[in-house]
Subunit: 388 residues, 4 copies
Amino acid sequence: MITTSTQLELFLETRQQTESICKPLSTEDYVVQPVEFVSPPKWHLGHTTWFFEEFILKNHKSNYELFDLQFAYVFNSYYESVGEKVVRTNRGNLSRPTVEKIYAYREYVTRELADFLKNNSIDEDLQKVIEIGIHHEKQHQELLLTDIKYILGNNPLLPVYDNNFKEELIEENPLKWLHTEEGVYEIGATPDADFHYDNEFGKHKVYANEFFIANKLVTNQEYIDFMEADGYENVLLWHAEAWDWITDEKINSPAYWYKFEGEWHQYTLGGFQRVNPKATLTHISYYEAYAFAQWKNLRLPTEFEWEIAQEKFNWGKRWEWTESAYLPYPNYKKDEGALGEYNGKFMVNQKVLRGGSIATAKKHTTPTYRNFFHPHLRWQFNGIRLAK
Amino acid sequence: MITTSTQLELFLETRQQTESICKPLSTEDYVVQPVEFVSPPKWHLGHTTWFFEEFILKNHKSNYELFDLQFAYVFNSYYESVGEKVVRTNRGNLSRPTVEKIYAYREYVTRELADFLKNNSIDEDLQKVIEIGIHHEKQHQELLLTDIKYILGNNPLLPVYDNNFKEELIEENPLKWLHTEEGVYEIGATPDADFHYDNEFGKHKVYANEFFIANKLVTNQEYIDFMEADGYENVLLWHAEAWDWITDEKINSPAYWYKFEGEWHQYTLGGFQRVNPKATLTHISYYEAYAFAQWKNLRLPTEFEWEIAQEKFNWGKRWEWTESAYLPYPNYKKDEGALGEYNGKFMVNQKVLRGGSIATAKKHTTPTYRNFFHPHLRWQFNGIRLAK
Amino acid sequence: MITTSTQLELFLETRQQTESICKPLSTEDYVVQPVEFVSPPKWHLGHTTWFFEEFILKNHKSNYELFDLQFAYVFNSYYESVGEKVVRTNRGNLSRPTVEKIYAYREYVTRELADFLKNNSIDEDLQKVIEIGIHHEKQHQELLLTDIKYILGNNPLLPVYDNNFKEELIEENPLKWLHTEEGVYEIGATPDADFHYDNEFGKHKVYANEFFIANKLVTNQEYIDFMEADGYENVLLWHAEAWDWITDEKINSPAYWYKFEGEWHQYTLGGFQRVNPKATLTHISYYEAYAFAQWKNLRLPTEFEWEIAQEKFNWGKRWEWTESAYLPYPNYKKDEGALGEYNGKFMVNQKVLRGGSIATAKKHTTPTYRNFFHPHLRWQFNGIRLAK
Amino acid sequence: MITTSTQLELFLETRQQTESICKPLSTEDYVVQPVEFVSPPKWHLGHTTWFFEEFILKNHKSNYELFDLQFAYVFNSYYESVGEKVVRTNRGNLSRPTVEKIYAYREYVTRELADFLKNNSIDEDLQKVIEIGIHHEKQHQELLLTDIKYILGNNPLLPVYDNNFKEELIEENPLKWLHTEEGVYEIGATPDADFHYDNEFGKHKVYANEFFIANKLVTNQEYIDFMEADGYENVLLWHAEAWDWITDEKINSPAYWYKFEGEWHQYTLGGFQRVNPKATLTHISYYEAYAFAQWKNLRLPTEFEWEIAQEKFNWGKRWEWTESAYLPYPNYKKDEGALGEYNGKFMVNQKVLRGGSIATAKKHTTPTYRNFFHPHLRWQFNGIRLAK
């Protein structure tokens, strides 16, 4: 457990960081929801704030007054067990509350929670909830950035988010296959100084066969080779559901790629630019990662292999798709009540990603952190590491 | 034909009026599109401006420079024959161009067109196109207001648009049945001092049977009687497609009505308020107007009956659904080229409304004006006048 | 009113005729429903039978026993006011009752009704219901044939229905424009020796402008000219909803046409054969008929023009699309109770067709009969007659 | 490898068994497809036959003549790499080829293949393909039976398939928790006398924690307790996607259950009957199995736990949902070419079931057989075994 003053500092820094991410936006950019899996930035701002109000201030701070009674209704998300959800009005239709009002809400809750932390002795259980609230907001920071990219990158004007934002990373090293011996290994986290989600706990043994994992991620050039070898047209490389997906959605390149004047270009948060062949591939679905590996006669690592071998290579540039389905670890126990909805209810039909990306909070870039997405999603900064 | 100076005045006044309608909005309200038939206010602002740039300035003003090359792509609407339409990016996803930029676009085009009108001798054909542009913008003013009502009235916070906006109108008069003799009557407009759309021209004779038309519109109380007599549950009153619609959409009251603490309330642009039983009913679809008339053993007038009899009663409060389908008049000729898309291509599957509403431009509140909507739509200020 | 013995004869002949239409079918052909607007032949057989049981035998024949209690549930169609409709089980999923059982049902009801007609004095009201039942079945005979064509014509094996069935009709005559003077004309039917539906009654006057109507229908060659002039690609020829329809459904030729070895072929009930350029065009939607007329700088007649002029030309080969919407005639009164659902509830969003086709009962091929379909439907034997 | 004469016997017996399953059907029952995941029985008959023609006779029997050129097009299923798939005509619309024709096709291919087996020396590779063809047909026998149940059980007449078909099985034993020690275990099959699919190979070690598994399956009464404790209304028991599914589909009991006169009844292949509280629960999705286990504070076993412990309990009544996702075993190699599509391409978004049901071929009721379905599907004879 961290001390209250450390927690206060982390809290304030996190709140600040969320707002920094939004600084380059126009008011209008906060409002739109071009596709269901993207949330409007104003919703992220309100929802992360609501979390602190709902789970901490409302019940624990004496004489706390809700900023606005209706915000619980508007900014509640997946917590089906807390009040009623916004059903008929989609997030993308909510022009009100205004962005200004939401910033006022943020400021109010930040001040109230800071005040609460300064002037009260917080017990361990509550400290844990605050900690989750902070990490919840850090997760939303990454979603904020990728959602902003989706919003701007699907606007016909392709507006720049920040000229100084550099997505491109070069794969310097030649390929090496890192070897791991067959045997029993330990997986998962134990409560320690670092923060972990419930889905990482339950440290347990797994048996791994001998395997090899690449020291580097797949580059744009390698993926272009796959495209030029008609990888998107060869049904034998794809899962059945993947094939339906690329057919229905007319997918034939990574997300944000456009062929312009005969050359591959991509939209990045730093603007529209040529694809650098030597740079690390990103914005790839699991389906594409799998098909690419099939084409290479290789495979993706499991999340266990990744965790066992991760000390031997650099990671943290791109979320790395694994072959593992997102399932509970043995003896997984979800939290009681509404916070129990955090992870467990998503443990079906999703794939685990490991490692973290340029958009990930440093505190989430750990060897045991388990990220998860549906296999067709690719608006995160995802990449491919191969195994055999 | 009007003089150029009158046209300039009308143009400037129209541009000004559009902006007045938007004055009470927050920036966020300009952006959202909660349902396909509603356009974001920013789109209305840009599209009415694009019309003047595309059809007048671009080809007729010497040395005119487009404000922004990409705006034709963003703000073109139904003019399929002019350039490419926005296909994959919906209007409701377009955070950029910003509202501020669109106001700059408006100002630029208003100034350029005013300048053009002042310093050039405009031939009659072009004058006619400018006139259409002005009336096009007046039509969008009405849509703007009803779209704003939809956006705010479907927001869970039910924000007030303007405290002074009064939608409520009282039906003062007792019902009288106004009589018209059987015979041949003339319908439609001929070119005269007033503006008319192409769909009103082709003055022609129709034969009318003897008929009676009500001197007043249906009130909220009369409609509540229908609801309380289980009008929404009696299949024999409804068209087959109407029945599917009320079943699928769970329709059981006019739009914007909510039962709150046992009383019918409604959202209005002036705020949330109790339904006044004596006031004129509004926000009713053709399907509901028809079912109500069936329940009364009466019917809706045809658009011809309405036009023949309109001198005998007051109208202009609510658009009045007629039994007539929106079809071309005999000898209807649509304009050449892109402007020909204005009316003709909508002449199928829609119903004619006559008269005008509190949101309609005075210049469109004429005995021959033909408004038209699909029979299930009810976000306009529509009402019911009965006939027999 | 006809005599009971004439009615008995007509009834038996009609029942027999329905079964003759089905004779070439395999049992499997009776079962499938490839698209919502097509009903499985077994459903037509059962539904036309249910009509007689429900509206006549059940309430009027003493000691009548229902053939099967559940058949009312299975074979009721659009009569929402009679019992519950089949909701979750689509017509195309009903393997039971078997075809054999349905034929037994037919035989039972035919015998019972014949017996009823022979041994009872039938009052005029009931006679009228029986008459409707007979004509209802005649309408279903036409649907049966066109539904069978759809079922076989959308099977990859393109099976022949009947080698002797000849759809092809040659347009022999050169084009002449038949002239009609401006004036007041009478439209609609009055009760007389012939059968009429409620939608034809209400004989009334209309005012017609001077017009010209073609003496012949459009040929395949004329339509091929339209296709070769890129008629399907020219947006200005189409209604907005038509354009969406041809785009979404990838429509670029009449229904059942296939380009095979460089030549246009078509599926007919007599087999797969080359399109004869001189033959009458068929399987065309209203949308296509309208676009074709636009391309010719001509138009479709209204249903009133058609009825006024019909004595001057031959008709009955193809249902002829008119420009008229399907609306009630002045003073239209629908029947009381469930039979009132027959016509009135469809009087929105549909277009009137006049004349009859090779599949139409002779008794329905009359100058006042009003057929109606949604504007995109084209599996009936529809054609085009032009006007100006 | 089995001898050719044993294989011939197995082949003939399998072909025969498929036809026995269909014996109680009416011709009409062979045709319909009430929902996408159910195939019409005639399609199963044709498709299993096509397999032998496509993969064996066509290329390996000298002078073999295809029964019908078009059948490859009609009866090919998921083998995207072999010819073109039926795209626009759904399986449920295919009235032709007739059932009679398909039986003739079966007879022809059965005879030809028997002849081929008798008169040729078959090499091991080809023998393996024939073996797959036989087991492919055995898998389709189970699907045939469950598809027939779906077709009849969703018909409003609820027709009996076979009065003697007994689905009901009583859970006799009291609950015991069978214990397994923590440790390394071996999983998967090695090539031996029995048939195995590619997805079972790759025998490998896994590490299991200590666990307990129930000696018996969940009964109807236990599930009724869950229903009566409002299990279907408690969001905290369900996966997020499961909650959407039960909400959208209005699921609140196992498939085929109906409350009739106050008592739970169920449709079975032996007819409509009361639910026996002591009998084994069936027709449950993974989602429901998971929610039930959550409610009990227990869990489902993994497929590895199931395989390790299976010697200690009886199984084979119901397919048992496991918590495991359907993933490739380490070193999984799919077959070359079209047969490689058999299993691998489904290894995403599905859950593993173990054990077999009353509808499963005895040869597939083995400790290593891996069945798999999407988590919402429940028309198979699925049940629940709990673990902790």
